[in-house]
């Protein structure tokens, strides 16, 4: 087995930090009390082990690549990692418990801004996460088994409202519904019937539905093949400080845009 041992040793040789994804208390303690003087960064949905250096995952990323990416970008943004640092990431790929160790150079890939999307956007991180959850839920359920599409524009609501016009009466007028309220889950099915975009404020209030977005689409660079809904989403985020989260009607994917660029792509079926 010495060949295998060598391989594992190579993977963890000369690393600058260890990233533990949702470690158990025992695992974390073993690392924290280890005197190898290696920085330990904990990444998870909640800081269950009270670690000093912690990066919060807003979603339970089932795709390991996305999870690593988010953790690395988060650690880099918080100044926990320098460019050129080499780190070992311990995470779980199949089910519970850590089963995977990955060696990554922090600048090995270009950052997609997925951490930035959650933490440094105008709307609050909780609001972004709630809208994601609504989209994922809607993508899973659909309407009577049929795929549906939806477009949520989150943040900078005042400007978005001025760059759009109503398609019909606003059902949310004089109501004070916030994404994340339990009632929103009940309204999910109804959501999918409404055409146009949903506008959500920085604090998560659903400002309007049935909005026809009228941004200028100049210079918007989104992958070819995506439809009008995605184009509108990309364009409005370039024109305002909002972010847009889209549920695609044709392929059922959830995509997020910021600054006119596609930032993240999730498959609702995996959640």
């Amino acid at each position: 087995m010495s060949a295998l041992d060598d391989l594992v040793d190579d993977v963890v040789a000369d690393i600058d930090a260890v990233l533990l994804f949702s470690p158990s208390a025992g695992t974390y303690d073993a690392f924290a009390t280890d005197d190898a003087d290696l920085p330990v960064i904990v990444i998870g949905q909640e800081n269950a082990v009270d670690a000093e250096t912690f990066v919060e995952l807003p979603l339970e990323f089932t795709d390991v690549g996305g999870r690593l990416r988010f953790g690395l970008e988060g650690a880099a943004q918080q100044g926990l990692l320098d460019e050129g640092d080499t780190v070992a990431c311990a995470t779980s790929m199949f089910g519970d418990g850590m089963d995977t160790v990955v060696r990554v150079r922090a600048d090995q890939y270009s950052p997609t801004g997925v951490y930035d999307l959650f933490v440094n956007s105008r709307p609050e991180p909780d609001v972004v996460r709630d809208v994601f959850e609504v989209c994922i839920e809607l993508g899973k359920k659909g309407q009577k088994g049929k795929q549906v599409g939806a477009l949520f524009v989150v943040g900078d609501a005042g400007k978005v409202m001025n760059k759009s016009r109503p398609l019909s009466y606003n059902p949310f007028e004089k109501s004070h519904v916030h994404v994340g309220d339990p009632i929103v889950n009940v309204m999910l099915k109804e959501f999918s019937r409404l055409d146009g975009a949903f506008v959500i404020s920085d604090s998560g209030k659903i400002v309007s539905a049935y909005r026809y977005l009228e941004p200028s689409a100049e210079g918007v660079d989104i992958p070819k093949g995506l439809g009008a809904r995605h184009m509108a989403a990309g364009a409005i985020t370039r024109d305002t400080n909002a972010i847009a989260i889209v549920l695609s009607e044709s392929d059922g994917m959830v995509r997020a845009f910021k600054g006119g660029e596609l930032v993240i792509e999730l498959d609702p079926e995996e959640y």
Partner: protein, 262 residues
Amino acid sequence: MQVDLPRFVRRLFSQEAAFAFSIAILVVGLVAAYLAWRWTRGVLTDSSFADAVEGTPLERTVRAVGFSTVGLIASLVAVFVYVLAIVLALNVVQLLDIQLFWTRVTSYLPRLLIAALAVIVGITAGYRAELAVSERLRSVKLPEVAFLGDLVKYSIFYVAALVALAQVGVSTDALLILLGAFAFGLVFLGGLAFRHLLAAAAAGIYLLLTEPYAIGDEVRIDDRRGIVQEVDVFVTRVESEGEEYIIPNQEVFQSGVVRVRG
């Protein structure tokens, strides 16, 4: 009012019989105390009381000496019943100045029990309330907020101590005045400190209900002009080029709003 038990026993039996009778009373008292202990224990265990005291410091302290709160209360009741039996027995053999002792003890004993219960319930409720408050405030990441929980806890302790002391007959007038001053201070100073927030909230509720302006409208409040980004209970956020005004809602009310129609 009482039946003159000793004389009655002596008339029926002899002096020796009276002594035997008092021993019998002691034995019956023992059995009654045991039954009372079992009954209290059963009732408290069946009710949700055992769950409520679970994990409070009182329970832990009591546990440390090999007891439980339920057991403690049950024992208190048992002791109460047994002491009653002893007093009755002493009464029968006429070892004490019965009349005086009897009236004192019978009036004092229940109050002592109530005082003990008040202390136990007070401590349990205090810790429960502190837990509930700190649970509520957990999302507020400010260490000083823990002070609020302590305040609630000690307030409840204080009231429980007042009830207990009043029961055992200690004069509590001074403590009551202190409690009054505390409550008054809380309400008065609270009102004073929060009066701006209260005014803003009152105006904010009107703004939210009637929505004279909505998110996306262009407005002018005093000389601040911009697009409404957010309206909540306390403030209105108005954004213009590069500047965001956070305006307390009572100010919106006092100076009025100009809606700019484009």
